[in-house]
Amino acid sequence: MGDHHHGPATGIGRWLFTTNHKDIGTMYLWFSFAMFILGGTFAMIIRAELFQPGMQLVEPGFFNQMTTLHGLVMVFGAIMPSFVGLANWLIPMMIGAPDMALPRMNNWSFWILPPGFLMLASTLFMEGGAPAFGWTFYAPLSTTYAAPSVTFFIFAIHILGVSSIMGSINIIATVMNMRAPGMTYMKMPLFVWTWLITAFLLVAVMPVLAGAVTMMLMDIHFGTSFFSAAGGGDPVLFQHIFWFFGHPEVYIIILPAFGVVSQIIPAFSRKPLFGYASMVYATASIAFLSFIVWAHHMYTVGMPVAGELFFMYATMLIAVPTGVKVFNWITTMWRGALSFETPMLFCIGFLILFTIGGFTGLMLSIAPADFQYHDTYFVVAHFHYVMVAGAVFSMTAAVYYWLPKWSGRMYNETMGKVHFWISFVGFNITFFPQHFVGLAGMPRRIPDYALQFADFNMMSSIGAFIYGASQILFLYNVLATIIAGEKVTDEKVWDGAEGLEWTIPTPAPYHTFEVPPKLDAAHA
């Protein structure tokens, strides 16, 4: 097998011109890790300034540039591309396909990302500075009152959007057309299911974001007034459009994470996933609900009471399918034979912390209570519990879990466990006290704060430095594994792992499933 095929090309050309899903997946993963470090650096600057009351290191305007770029880089540069990378590596291997359906477009959707982010980062060096209006870029702060660099920001968002849409079309086409014979929809691994649904969300909402930034562009340069009351527009219209994209975006980030956890927990519980069908239905329900809850980000803009009630009830409903998922994962562990390798530790960390983030999400859904929580550090704590402990922890789990299959080498388990514990402790020291300062009245996005918030902010900063430093350990462990890790050759690296990707040789050859696999009884 494989004698008609050559291996990868050599030199830089291999990476520039590749149409191989594994190469492209690898590039996505490294790119997103680089962005994770960049966005993390911005976070460290934020936490260093907030270490003590008073302005010490940066000016308030620059502080706002840091919070804005931190959010944008983490959401669009780190988390989203990392899951696209994972999809590229895993979806063909999980459904028994030789590659993605549209390999040339796959190359293009990756390679427009680095220029996009280069353009975004270059705004830091422009006159007037980088965008300083928050990652949510509310008008008119982001239009009439923005620095000239906003135009570059708009163009960067367009490029990232195009990349995401192309990536999603590719995933949809692959999953729908390239499954191995016998792999019906309801036999697909849950990671494939969650990505299929995510891809539909992306195709639906990225154009809405593109519309929002185009309207900004028109307001700034062509004299329109979409978001200015003086010309018959409405600043709140911007928020409606933004969050119609923004809320599904939250699930775009978390659904693939659900998929990862649904693969890993059964493997280390040595027991099939509990309630596979209900997991699929719950994912679909969450995706549907994500389209009708957007204005819960806007309870204080002065909507009519009927609107507030609708969005409150719809938002509360999301707790039901999300709860089903958590219950299913825990029941999967119940009476299994558990072991706690690094991927499992990160999944358990995910389960605990994501559930806490879900609880605070439920609290935030209650409109009258949100009048007190809105735009405080309580919200900052909430979304970092779901974004970092949700998406980033599960992504980390995924890297540890599949790295031996990708590279044919085993990571250092002790170092992995140390990485988990430092991350877990550092994360909680950072973000748990933020619930307290938020409830006590500290607004978000401020460069300086009243003295009563000093102790918890210092604690938060220390935690952030610990969590930040633990990522260096992660990088070291991954590099050491790839270069000199202990070789593994078992097809099934983990004894409890299930799925087609564990039936191919380790390390995964450059081309896999050139002949569609026959699903055996266990998989069919």
Binding site: M312, M316, R335, A337, L351, L362, Q372, D375
Partner: protein, 374 residues
């Protein structure tokens, strides 16, 4: 509400436990000084406790599994993986719990939205980066003023001690009578701001071109502090809200004094002042409004230098334009509606004669007024 009060005191006792561990740091929402605030607090505690109880159950099962169903104990994993009954149960039960939460939430929300029968109307306008308060009067005799951050730059930049109310203090607070339903009309002059005071549980966005409505009825006299909660530019963190809640008698006395003060200012605007008077008044205005950006010696900083500047030494009309209309696209605000004509005349005169700018120009309030007319 007796039940609510009992629950609240029980909860406060419970919260005292972590509070003891954290010293003086506030770790929870304040029930505040309004009935709405207390209801929101009860709602917050109710939902939080439901979540904590569910959390203990869920995590309890998980940790039981982690401890007793370990591979290292030699257990054999079961292979069960489906049960429609259980799935239905854990779909329906949470749904019922949610209905239990939605009922009190709905009733509180309807109260928050009941803006009728207010006894006092106040227009709140967010500016970059200060609040303007205007007490609306049916006869059209409105009283209005700006409320600026009172914390000195030296404290912010760590060259001086930080006071007890660092960043939460203003030159002129909003004064409200207690036991009076006050309606707030909230809007903004430039970008979106959000007016929030945690202890009276009012947070509403201030949106340029639109007016939002909300209300409060404070039950206890006191000073309540809050902040802008919507990112509004570089100095978003530096536009606090301070509310003085006083008795109705005190409020009426304060309002009387405020009106007399405004009348005096109108009279002053019609008179001509001497250079000395203008200079001393101008220095005070400069220190409050200009110093942060233009420096104590007019040397500049965030803003351009005033000492020896072409504007301060050049045409008076241009100088007035900059002061009144601001400079678009920069941090230089339009002070025309923030300063009255006397203060504007004084500060322009001061800038043209201080810091070695000795132009000898004297600008009178009437000059400012006629310049504004065009």
């Amino acid at each position: 509400m007796v039940g609510g009060n009992v629950m609240r005191s029980a909860l406060m006792a419970l919260m005292a436990l972590p509070a003891a561990a954290f010293g003086d740091n506030q770790v929870n929402m304040s029930p505040g000084v309004t009935t709405i605030g207390a209801e929101i607090y009860d709602l917050h505690m109710l939902i939080m406790i439901i979540c904590v109880v569910i959390g203990i159950g869920v995590f309890g099962v998980m940790f039981y599994s982690i401890i007793y169903h370990r591979k290292s104990r030699g257990v054999v994993p079961s292979q069960f993986h489906e049960s429609t009954k259980v799935e239905v149960a854990w779909t329906v039960v949470p749904f019922l719990i949610l209905i239990g939460m939605a009922v009190p939430a709905t009733s509180t929300l309807l109260e928050v939205y009941d803006n009728d029968d207010a006894e006092l109307d106040i227009l709140i306008t967010g500016h970059q980066w200060k609040w303007k308060y205007e007490y609306l009067d049916e006869s059209g005799e409105n009283v209005s003023f700006f409320s600026n951050l009172a914390t000195p730059q030296e404290a912010i930049y760590n060259t001086d001690q930080k006071g007890e109310h660092y960043l939460l203090e203003v030159d002129e607070p909003l004064v409200l009578p207690v036991d009076t339903k006050v309606r707030f009309l909230i809007t903004a002059n430039d970008v979106i701001h959000s007016w929030w005071v945690p202890e009276i549980a009012v947070k509403r966005d201030a949106i340029p071109g639109f007016i939002n409505e909300t209300w409060t009825k404070i039950t206890e006299e006191g000073i309540y502090r809050g902040q802008c909660t919507e990112l509004c530019g570089a100095y978003h963190g530096f536009m606090p809200v301070v509310v003085h809640a006083v008795s109705r008698e005190e409020f009426n006395a304060w309002m009387g004094a405020k009106r007399a003060d405004e009348a005096a200012q109108v009279a002053a605007a019609a008179m001509d002042l001497s250079l000395d008077e203008l200079m001393s008044k101008g220095e005070a205005v400069y220190n409050a409004q200009c110093l942060a950006c233009h420096g104590a010696q007019g040397e500049g900083g965030v803003g351009n230098a005033i000492a020896g500047s072409a504007i301060a030494l050049g045409d008076i009309g241009t100088h007035l334009d900059v002061g009144i209309k601001g400079v678009a696209g920069t941090a230089m605000q339009a002070f025309g509606r923030q300063l009255n004509d006397v203060d504007m005349a004084a500060v322009i005169t001061y800038q043209r004669n201080a810091f070695g700018n000795n132009t000898g120009d004297v600008i009178q309030p009437s000059d400012v007024a006629s310049h504004k007319q065009g």
